[in-house]
Every structure is written in C-alpha cells, then in structure tokens.
C-alpha cells in the first residue's frame, strides 16, 4: 500500500498509509484463492467472511462488500487499520506460507473507506421497537458494538461515556496518523442515526450508579469501560517533571489535540531527547507522537528482546523507518533529575533472557554491574495498564478477579450481578480492538436473549 515517506510523515499527524486506489484493491483482491476451507476466517476472532467480502471487491460490487463485512464486524474501517493481522487473519492465509498473504486488513479498510466516500448512506432497517432499554457504559469498540447490535434488534440504547467525546481508546489513545479521528466520529454518528443515544460527561459510578440506572428504567446494563489505569515502573524519581504515562501523553495529544497548542488550550511537553518505556502499540504510538512533536531523538527502552515486542509488526516497522531507536534488554532502575525536579536521564541495567515465565516468554534477568546512564529530558511510561476501580468500587455486588477485572462468562459476558454484562479490556485486561468487539457481539446476543426470555 502506498505510504507517506518517512522523512515527511515523521513531522506531521496525517495518516501514514494512503489507501488503495480502486485498481490496486481489485488487483490485491484477485490474488485471493477463494479457499473452500479458508484459514484466514479461522484466524479472525470474529470470523469475518473474508473470501466473501473480497470476492465482492473483485466483482466491483462495493455495496455487497461492505454489507458482508458489517454482518460480522461493525467497525471495518477501524479493524482494517489496527488489527494485528500478522497474527490473525493474514497469518492463517494459505498464501502466507509463501510469504505473501492476501492483504486482508488493507482490503477491509478499502471497502469501508469506499463506503464512507461513495456509499448511499442508506441505513439497514432496525427490528420493530421492543420497548426495552439498555445502558452501555463506555464508548470504546466493545460498547459501540453492543450498541449497534442491540439497536438493530429494536431495543433502546443509551451509551454513557465519561470523557467529552465517544470512542474510547480509538479517540484518546490511537493517534491520528494511525486512525483518523474522522472515522471514529463517523462510526459514532452512524450509530446515532440508527437511534443510539450517546451521553458524554457521564462518569458511571460517580454521576450515576448501576443500581440507579435500573431504578430509572433500564432493563440491562453493559460495562465496557476498558483497562484505563496507567501502570508506572515504581522506581525512584518517577514523579519528576517530564515523566508522563502514555495515557496522559496520548490523551493530551489525541483527545485534547494538544499538538495544536496554543491554538487549543491544552499544553503538552515537547521533549527533545525522549525515552519511551515499553514495546507494545502504546509505546510505538507514544514514540512516534514525540517525533511528530519535534523531538530530535526518540528511543524505545524495552527489557526483553526484539522478538518479544508485542506491537503490531507494521507499527514497529513504521517506527524504525521514522528513525526511532531501540534499546533492547534494558530496564531503568532510577530516574535522574536536576535541582528543579526536572528529568535529566535514567540509570539503566542491561538484562539477559532466562527461563520462560508465566507468559511463556523468556524472563529478563538483570546483569549485575551492567548499570549505565541514559540521558533524556522527557519520558513516556508505556508499560501496560490495569483495571480502573472507579466504577467497580461503586458496584459492590459484582465479582472481580484478583487484579480487579470484572468476572464475566466468556461465552455470554454475564457478570455475577443480575442484568449486568461486561466485556472488552475490563474483563480480559488490555487486549485488542477486535477482541473487545467480539466480546461485545456475544454480550449483545445474550442481552437480547435476556430481554426476550429472561436471565
């Protein structure tokens, strides 16, 4: 797929891949062998009918293609861009064995973008109104999926979102250059046209409790509040000025559009010599954002080695092309600051890989005496996230696991509280957009059964 050149894109916030032309898309689509037993479909967590939607592209029937996609996946423009295809659909494509799988993600994105640009905007008809009301807490991919599915089945759906804009990580986390916010806005708008009511500025647990939602007439509640609690390293000096969680950094940059400061009112630190801790998608996004905000040097510091990096391959590749440096097998043990309390660097240790740990990956072990100093004036901590206890603390009669995530039936999403379902990152821990959507779909089926037949 054509892309913006690294030296240009690393200083702007526009999307990196430029998208297929119709000809390129058809050419790529025609590579699909239309397998009878398609491995790609097995690799997709929501079993998108991949040969089906691709076949429509080959035939030039774009309406057929998007309808086919929608039947399994309500956010194809998003998934086509952010799914880790290399370990899902594309990994299982028969052509992957020869090293060149069909670009399922690119095609999915093309189909959705085509619909946005040229589609009729015609709405699929909703089922007749059932008179039942559902509250969906959180407007990330899982909440949006539940809303779309249930409104189509004739239920009245209200989404409650704590932030002032809906979309969850899709708006506050994933940067514009990877997922244009316009797409998320349109997806939400689409749901609103279907009849979903979106209420922002509603901090469930504080502004309204789950029990109050039931008292005010809702018949069921879905919780999709994500895993928004930032983890820190818990090492000395972490509260120096110049150290931000990735959540804070990306929220300032994306949701608050602080990269336009002072045109907008929210400021953001402009590090010149930046270190990002961690090596997942969140770390790549932070590093690439820092570059776009004018950093001279951006380094990713990761305690394991290259092959354990959890980020999408495409993003690691993009980051490298843009000149981000990687320090593998390195962990900071202490932040260093000046007399004004500002970050000046960090003391790090070199690591080596030992026996596999619970995650099956080799455990990094510090090498004694390997301490060295890394200078930096700004650091983003992107070492994972946990369950935010705000809502769950306010909902005493719902079971949580030892890490504070909500216990929910993996097949239905039912929690231990009657009438309440949960899914996405708040159940599984930080995962992926498509898994959150898959959980939403299962829960929507189960909620529909409940509203029709009972708990």
């Amino acid at each position: 797929m054509p892309e913006q050149k690294p030296e240009i894109r690393k200083r702007n916030f526009n999307e990196v891949p430029l998208g297929y032309t119709f000809e390129l898309a058809q050419k790529e689509a025609s590579r699909c062998l239309q397998c009878k037993k398609p491995g790609c479909v097995e690799g997709c967590p929501v079993a998108v009918d991949i040969p089906g939607f691709i076949n429509f592209i080959t035939k030039g029937d774009m309406t057929g293609s998007i309808r086919n996609l929608w039947s399994r996946n309500s956010l194809p423009a998003v998934c086509g861009r952010v799914c880790p295809q290399e370990i899902q659909c594309e990994q299982r494509c028969i052509l992957a064995k020869r090293g060149d799988p069909v670009a399922v993600g690119h095609l999915e994105r093309f189909s959705a973008d085509y619909e946005r640009a040229y589609g009729t905007g015609e709405l699929p008809p909703n089922a007749p109104a059932t008179g039942k009301k559902v509250a969906v807490i959180g407007s990330g991919p899982s909440g949006l999926t539940v809303s779309g599915d249930l409104v189509a089945l004739g239920h009245r759906v209200t989404v409650l979102e704590a932030f002032h804009k809906p979309g969850g990580v899709l708006v506050y986390g994933i940067p514009e250059f990877r997922l244009p916010k316009e797409i998320v806005t349109q997806e939400v708008h689409f749901l609103e046209r279907l009849g979903v009511e979106v209420k922002c500025n509603m901090v469930a647990g504080n502004t309204v409790s789950i029990d109050e939602l039931f008292e005010s007439g809702y018949d069921a509640v879905y919780i999709g509040v994500g895993a928004g609690l930032p983890r820190f390293m818990i090492i000395p000096g972490e509260n120096l000025v110049g150290i931000l969680s990735a959540n804070e950094y990306l929220t300032r940059a994306n949701l608050m559009k602080a990269y336009k400061f002072p045109e907008v009112d929210t400021p953001i630190p402009h590090g010149k010599n930046v270190v990002v801790l961690g090596a997942g998608n969140v770390a790549m996004d932070s590093a690439r954002t820092a570059l776009r905000l004018g950093a001279d040097k951006v380094r990713i510091v990761y305690r394991r080695s290259r092959k354990e990096m959890p980020a999408r391959i495409a993003e690691i590749h993009h980051a490298e092309e843009e000149g981000i440096e990687f320090f593998f097998l390195t962990t900071p043990v202490k932040y260093l600051g000046d007399e004004k309390g500002r970050l000046t660097g960090m003391a790090c240790l070199k690591m080596e890989l030992g026996e596999p740990d619970e995650s099956g990956r080799q455990r990094p072990i510090p090498i004694p005496g390997s301490e060295f100093e890394l200078q930096c004036d700004f650091c983003v901590v992107a070492v994972g996230s946990g369950a935010n206890p705000l809502l769950t603390n306010a909902t005493k009669d719902m079971k949580l696991n030892q890490w504070g995530y909500i216990v929910a039936d993996p097949e239905t999403g039912k929690t231990t509280k009657k009438g309440v379902w949960a899914g996405g990152d708040i159940v599984t821990g930080a995962a992926t957009v498509i898994l959150a959507m898959g959980a939403g779909r299962k829960a929507a089926d189960s909620i529909h059964k409940y509203l029709t037949w009972g708990w």
Partner: protein, 278 residues
C-alpha cells in the same frame, strides 16, 4: 451545554463565582468533591471544587481565581452562556466526623473550597474556628459566608490591611496554644498548607489538606495528578483530593505544578493579545 444561572465577581474581578445548572451532579455532590469543566471545543479540562450544590434547584457553584488562559476564558462567560462539558462529582468527599474543636484554615481561593467543608463540620456538631487569609484586604473572599458557618472567624492579611498583620499560620499557632483543637483542615496555596502542616505536626493534631495538582481526566486514567503521600504515589483525583497533611511531599507538588508554566504563559499572552485586539 451546562448553563450559568448566576454569576458574581469578587475582589474586583479576579475571583468569579458561577452557579451552573448541572442537575445530575448536584444530586450527588458532597463537600470536598470537585468537577472538571471545559468551556468549548478546543478548551482545556479545568478542575474546580464545588463551593456549593443545590440538589433541588439542580445547580452547582464554583468559585475560581483568574490565573491563566482557561480561567480568563471562563470569566468571559455571562449568565445564560454555558460550559460545553462538565463532569463530576469527582474525588473522595471530605471525611466528616464530630471530634470537638476544629480549625479550618483557608487562603486565597482555597476559601471557596473550604466553605462547604466548614459548613458540614459545623452541622455535625463540631466547634468550628476558621482562619481566612489573603495577601491584602481586597483579595479576601467569602468573609460573610465563612462567618455564618463558623463559631469564630479570624482574619489575617499579609500586608496588615485587614485583621491580623501576617500569615494565617501565626493566628493558627496562637489558637493551638489556647484551645483544645482536635483537627485542622487547611486549604489554600501549597506553601500555606505546607506551613500549617508543619505547625500542627509539632502539636500532633490530625490535619487534612486539599491538593490541586494538574489534572486531565479526573477519573484515575492518566496519572498526571500523582502526588507523593508518605513516600507512596497516589492519584489526587481518585485517592484525594484530601490527604493527611503531615504526609504530603509539598515540594514535589510545587515543582509539578510548574510543569507547564512556560507553555501556559505563552498561551495566555496570545489569548490576551487577541482578546484585547478584538
């Protein structure tokens, strides 16, 4: 939109009161809790403590000092205008207990935050002595309101233009010498809270302070508001904003509050230039 239903200017326009229609928040608000307000699309999310709330009328009241671009923008909002976004109530409510004699110390706009807490402490049966202070007489806010909710109100100004000439801490010391004080609540500029806590530590009197670090979401998801309490990191928006005054690392808080100083000044100056030109 959240409409402003009443607006007052205090201390010659440097401190503004807004009573705002926000029925869902008003229904739940407790003393010590705060809201986050955003004026318009490109606005900043600004935390302000609720100085009052009226569940019947469905309104909340905030009192803020004009210190930078966002608060200057807030100041331009008239009755009938509104804030695009407000969330709340946020933070833990004040821990209210009947303990006997309580001293409430407020400085600057901290007095606005202190007011509902003082009222609640009195309502549950404490003997409340309040000390409010400002740099100079004209900057003192809520004197009458504070008098109403206290058994005894003392005033101090740095320049001696009203009440005791000096700092609130000096008045506090005198009270601690003469009364059997069981608890102190101090809300105001960081140095004030720091020195109040230093004095009360000498007298071993439990002390609560309300911290105001820089915030973004106010719901525990960014960690921008982290403060060190007894050497451990806490998020002020969810674990606070009130903390044991004897355990706070005030110097760290002061440094963290300066984090965006240069940027904010740039933004404010741009804004003033544009505003004054227009």
């Amino acid at each position: 939109m959240f409409k402003i239903v009443r607006r007052e200017e205090m201390t010659g326009g440097t401190v503004i009161l807004n009573e705002i229609a926000a029925p869902l928040i008003a229904r739940k608000a407790k003393p010590g809790q705060f809201v986050i307000l955003k004026a318009n699309e490109d606005g900043e999310r600004v935390p302000l403590t609720m100085a009052d709330s009226d569940p019947e009328k469905g309104t909340i009241t905030v009192i803020y000092m004009v210190v930078g671009k966002s608060t200057a923008l807030f100041k331009t909002l008239a009755v009938g205008d509104g804030y695009q976004d407000i969330i709340g109530p946020l933070g833990k409510p004040t821990h209210l207990e009947k303990v006997g004699t309580v001293v409430c110390v407020g400085g600057g706009t901290g007095i606005a935050v202190l007011h509902p807490i003082t009222r609640a402490l009195k309502e549950i049966g404490n003997h409340v002595i309040s000390i409010i202070g400002a740099r100079t007489k004209d900057l003192l806010i809520l004197e009458n309101q504070m008098r109403k909710v206290s058994h005894d109100l003392r005033i101090s100004t740095d320049d001696g233009s009203y009440g005791h000439h000096g700092f609130v801490t000096e008045v506090l010391k005198e009270i601690l010498e003469n009364e059997d004080v069981k608890q102190v609540v101090a809300i105001g500029p960081v140095p004030m809270m720091k020195f109040v806590s230093k004095i009360t530590a000498e007298y071993h009197i439990p002390t609560f302070v309300s911290l105001n670090p820089i915030m973004v979401d106010g719901t525990g998801m960014c960690g921008g508001c982290r403060v060190s309490i007894d050497g451990k990191t806490k998020f002020a928006c969810v674990d606070g904003p009130e903390f044991d005054g004897h355990k706070v690392d005030y110097d760290e808080l002061m440094r963290r509050l300066q984090a965006y100083c240069d940027e904010e000044t740039e933004c404010y100056e741009d804004y003033c230039t544009i505003r004054d030109a227009g």
